[in-house]
């Protein structure tokens, strides 16, 4: 039978329609884009999570990893072509994007420890969860090398009733410059100092004062905030390398002094991600054997940092990915990778499931905490956070009372306008 022109035309139309349907379906149902800042090992770990999702759902995940994800996201939003989902470095950005109407609520996907972290006000003023915490790091930790401490000190430091004053006194007796401190970090130098001040304020003055300060309701010149800065000043004065040294030392290298012979410094205040940096020191120190940690004095209160994921395009594939990433299965993929330094806020993962004794104890600290607070500078408006970072560097360069007065007055001016 010879095909008639009408039949041939019908067939062509059907073929085109099928092709168009296939193309249209790929956007929302079969593909999801993720923009993030992870490259290298972190990208590999995230890739392992995504591979499992792709295998289970058949949805293709296109991940773009760039260190400048924040700027790329801003540019893509400006162009009107945002990714479906993006990893956000802090709740401050999440709140700003939610208020601008760029983010879509994630429904019930935000659960677990400190579930309220991603709750923000939308453009209509209504408060909803606008993101999920992909992975967390525990910040309130003080690391040391047991072999470099006088006998019995490590045990005393583990005493649950230990106060900050006890710790400060014990530390100052171990060496002339016992604190390891490095404030440099490429384009965000200063944050290791802001972490110090946040931990001091949280543990010395309590979560209510901390919350008021983060929300901009408490003046920087208040006695509580000033005391936290002054205590940080004693750390700076007792830091290995002097003022110039700490300004130019990277946060990841600062603790290497603990493993030198003789030790350059004895104690390092750093988050749960720091073992990966210690592993690069001479002799490749190992957790538990060559170094250990004690929680910041003031048990039951923990400061955390973390990476959040927000949904910029509400598609079925994006929703499925968001739901998957907080699941126990996905979170396990990440935390079970040795040396990842990642901690999950999912309560279904018990501390005993973490690889190694040190990660298990850190996870136990997080799971057992009565009070969990997110990194303050990450939660503040970006102008305030940038001023805070700079102020830390300025104070570290000249840790005197007069300078502190000027710094706190200037920061308070920013608070009133931010």
């Amino acid at each position: 039978m010879r095909p008639s022109p009408a039949r041939a035309l019908c067939a062509l139309v059907l073929l085109c329609a099928a092709a168009l349907t296939a193309c249209g379906g790929s956007g929302g149902d079969r593909t999801v884009t993720v923009l993030g800042s992870w490259t290298g090992a972190e990208h590999e770990a995230f890739g392992a999570m995504l591979a499992e999702f792709e295998r289970e759902t058949g949805i293709d995940v296109k991940y773009t990893g760039t260190r400048d994800a924040r700027a790329v996201l801003a540019s893509e939003l400006h162009d009107g072509h945002p990714p479906d989902t993006a990893v956000l470095a802090n709740p401050g950005d999440l709140r700003a994007y939610a208020a601008d109407g760029h983010l879509h609520p994630v429904g019930s996907a935000s659960q677990g420890i400190a579930a309220g972290l991603t709750t923000a006000a939308g453009p209509d003023g209504g408060r909803r969860p606008y993101g999920i915490v992909l992975k967390a790091s525990v910040k309130s930790l003080i690391w040391y090398a047991p072999d470099t401490l006088p006998g019995g000190l490590a045990e005393r430091l583990r005493d649950p009733s230990l106060t900050w004053d006890d710790l400060a006194a014990a530390v100052s007796g171990t060496a002339d410059a016992p604190w390891c401190l490095g404030l440099e970090d490429t384009s965000q130098s200063g944050w290791p100092g802001t972490d110090w001040i946040e931990d001091l304020l949280l543990h010395l003055s309590g979560p209510e004062v901390y919350d008021d300060w983060v929300a901009g309701r408490l003046a920087w010149t208040s006695p509580e905030v000033r005391r936290a800065w002054e205590e940080f000043g004693t750390v700076v004065r007792d830091a290995h390398g002097g003022n110039g040294g700490i300004l130019l030392t990277g946060y990841g290298e600062a603790g290497h002094g603990m493993f030198a012979d003789p030790p350059g410094c004895r104690f390092d205040h750093a988050g749960s991600f720091i073992p990966a940096f210690y592993a690069q020191a001479a002799g490749r120190p190992e957790p538990g054997r060559d170094f250990d940690f004690v929680p910041f004095p003031g048990r039951g209160t923990v400061e955390i940092g973390g990476d959040l994921l927000g949904m910029f395009r509400d598609t079925p594939a994006a929703r499925r990915l968001v739901a998957y990433l907080t699941s126990e299965e996905a979170q396990r993929t990440w935390i079970e990778r040795a040396g990842s330094g990642a901690y999950s806020l999912n309560r279904d993962i018990p501390p005993g499931d973490y690889p190694g004794d040190v990660p298990r104890r850190i996870a136990g600290l997080l799971a057992g905490a009565e009070t969990v607070r997110f990194d303050a500078s990450d939660s503040m408006p970006s102008v305030m956070a940038a001023a805070f970072n700079h102020a830390v560097l300025e104070y570290a360069a000249e840790p005197g009372d007069e300078r502190l007065d000027a710094i706190l007055t200037a920061l308070d001016k920013v608070r009133r306008t931010a």
Partner: protein, 328 residues
Amino acid sequence: MLAISVGIALLFWIVATSVLVGGQSAVESAREKGVPAYIGARTAHAALSDADRAAWQSFRSGAAQLTGPGQRFRDDITTAGDSLSRIAEVDVGGETGRDLLRSVNAQVVTYQGLVEQADATYRKGLEELGYAYLTYASRMLHADGGLLDRIDEIAERDRRAVDERHGSFWVTDAAVAAVCLLAAALLAVLGYVQVAMARRFRRVLNLPLLAASVLLLGLTAWFAATFLRVGDSFAAASERALPAFDRTIQAQIAAADAGARALREDRPAAAEGGLDLAAAERAQRPLTARFGGATDTGGLVAGLPAGTAAVAGLAALGIWLRLREYRR
């Protein structure tokens, strides 16, 4: 015979036109996109290296108290920005390339911000912190995976794009040989027809067929000469002129980096630095000239279809005239 002659002439025209269009497309793509993007990336690298040197020079000399990082620094930043804009205009790397460029632009802004912060702090009397900020800025540029490495990533991508265009089949001698082979086949057919008809019709020469053969020979020679010249010019541009430009820029980068390194370590360094836009411009001239030669096909675009049509027409005319005589 008539159908075979016209068919081969048509095939010759299709293949020769494909080589012409493919070759010109490869050359134009390199000239209009790959090379400007590569030059933009290399110039941006040199400008930022020099900006680093200029900023350190200003701080070490004390001029920063009055002029901040200085006019040279600002000029270098403007040059880097312009160069990166040129890369954006030609849009070589698709969506991934755009993301990389966005990321580089964002880092340039951050770098500039750090130097401004160094300036503000230094002028406030916190000299040590001013130098710390300047060190952060330098490390941001020069660190592994830092800003300059990202710009080099763009340059390598664009260099690869130029090499790929240069390696394209359409600009190789093989493509010219393929056209010549087809021309030889057509010439052989025309010769065969000429001889066969001379025997059959006892004529010495078929003038239209002879004219077709001569025209085909001329057209092929013109095509081959043009394309061998295009290939040579393209090779000269990508194998000699582009590396020569690169050597000039690389020398400027090395001078700027050496100066910045010396100043960071508080050692004396030459007052004048690396970036010399006039020298870079001079180094680009041979490149421009070579690409000018590579894009000049000397009227072949019009001559090829007209000549091929004339060859086919003459061949058809020659055969048709004999057949008409025979029918009478």
